[in-house]
Amino acid sequence: MSLYKGIFKRDMHIAFKQKAELVQPLMFLTMVVTLFPLGVSPSPDTLQRIGPGVIWIAAILSSLMAMERLFRDDFQDGSLEQYMLSGMALPAVSAVKVTVHWLVSFVPLFLLSPLLAMFLNLTVDMYIALVLTLLLGTPLLSLIGAIAVGLTVGLQKGGVLLALLLIPVFIPLLIFATSAVDSAALQLPYHAQLAIIAAMLLLAAALAPFAIAYSLKVSQN
């Protein structure tokens, strides 16, 4: 157990040493969100209607920017080889790394979310629903994203390919998440949507670490 705590500590340490990479996706997200009132319409009603979708799309796009960081450095400097030769269970290593990635790239998003909700004139009910969907949905982004990062890490220019692979996969999540917030706006129950996202998350949490480990192994060949 302490082994994996060591990786957690190492990755946290590295993440906070590379502050620019930490802050850039968040700034990107904020900017994308502020573009909508300027580009679409500043009317509070319109913003309220498109708000949840805008925040979710911006979150997905900004997560793609930060996603590559997950294994890129470790692959390029050879740390990944050394992990594989340490006899540690690679799925567990992957799970720890995904956890760190989620903590450093999505937890700041929650801190930023009240501000974004105000920008887009969301009601309190909508905001609560949004935070709940983000809470269940963003770990899913990290887990599924990590599989694709594992597959593309060996390629020279994997960045765009990564986006092309992942965006279609995230569509169901986007549909259920925004539908939950829409229901909240109409004062309707949205447990069903949350339950579906939670089910996707549980499935991914159980299987993704093995898929990530396998994809990393493949990229070493």
Binding site: I7, K17, D77, G78, E81, Y83
Partner: protein, 207 residues
């Protein structure tokens, strides 16, 4: 004893080697030689289990390495082209995280002794990316003296090292072999006498 049985490896439709068999005993230094692209690195990566051969198997003490990974990796030290050190961490952090991963516990003063041996005193707190190429190589190599591994697999270990560094490494190789260790190494410059006796294995470039 490390044994390769009937290894075949092809990359991009070119067969690098076919049915390659090779036995390296304890107390032996095997010097793998071959031109660029002959498949030295591919062979070494197969011997570590990082990549899998198209055919054949690698056995350590008579057991297939894919069956007893933990046992093999406990005894193995591998240094590839990539140093395995993170540029934003200091030498000290890099080494201590690595040692923890490989379940090696080393007292702090041993760590400093090794850093002194490789000539990195005063640089242990500097992020590794600010060090020169040779110094970065030294950080990676200092693990040799920290992990009590029996099998050393070194891919071009002399790259970027200065004369003193090369000598230090060769002496350590000799010492390791005389202590019953097993080394497989590649290098484009031939090993000097300081490395002790060694067996040469030539890998032919194939079209």
């Amino acid at each position: 004893m490390l044994e390769a049985r009937g290894l075949t490896c092809s990359k991009r439709d070119r067969t690098l080697f076919e049915g390659l068999s090779l036995v390296v005993d304890s107390s032996e230094l095997l010097y793998l030689r071959g031109s660029n692209g002959a498949g030295k690195t591919s062979l070494l990566r197969i011997l570590t289990g990082l990549s899998s051969p198209d055919a054949g198997a690698v056995l350590y003490n008579g057991v297939d390495i894919s069956e007893d990974k933990a046992g093999y990796y406990h005894d193995l030290f591998y240094l590839g082209h990539k140093s395995g050190t993170n540029g934003s961490l200091s030498a000290l952090d890099n080494l201590s995280f690595w040692l923890a991963q490989h379940k090696v516990s080393v007292p702090d003063n041993t760590l400093f002794d090794v850093l002194e041996k490789v000539g990195l005193v005063g640089l242990e707190d500097v992020p590794v990316r600010y060090l020169s190429a040779g110094q970065q190589r030294r950080v990676a190599l200092s693990r040799l003296w920290l992990k009590p591994a029996k099998v050393w697999i070194l891919d071009e270990p002399f790259t970027a090292l200065d004369v003193k560094g090369v000598n230090l490494l060769e002496t350590s190789m000799k010492e390791h072999v005389s202590n019953g260790g097993l080394i497989i190494t590649t290098s484009h410059q031939s090993l000097s006498n300081a490395a002790g006796e060694h067996r040469v294995f030539d890998l032919e470039y194939r079209f």
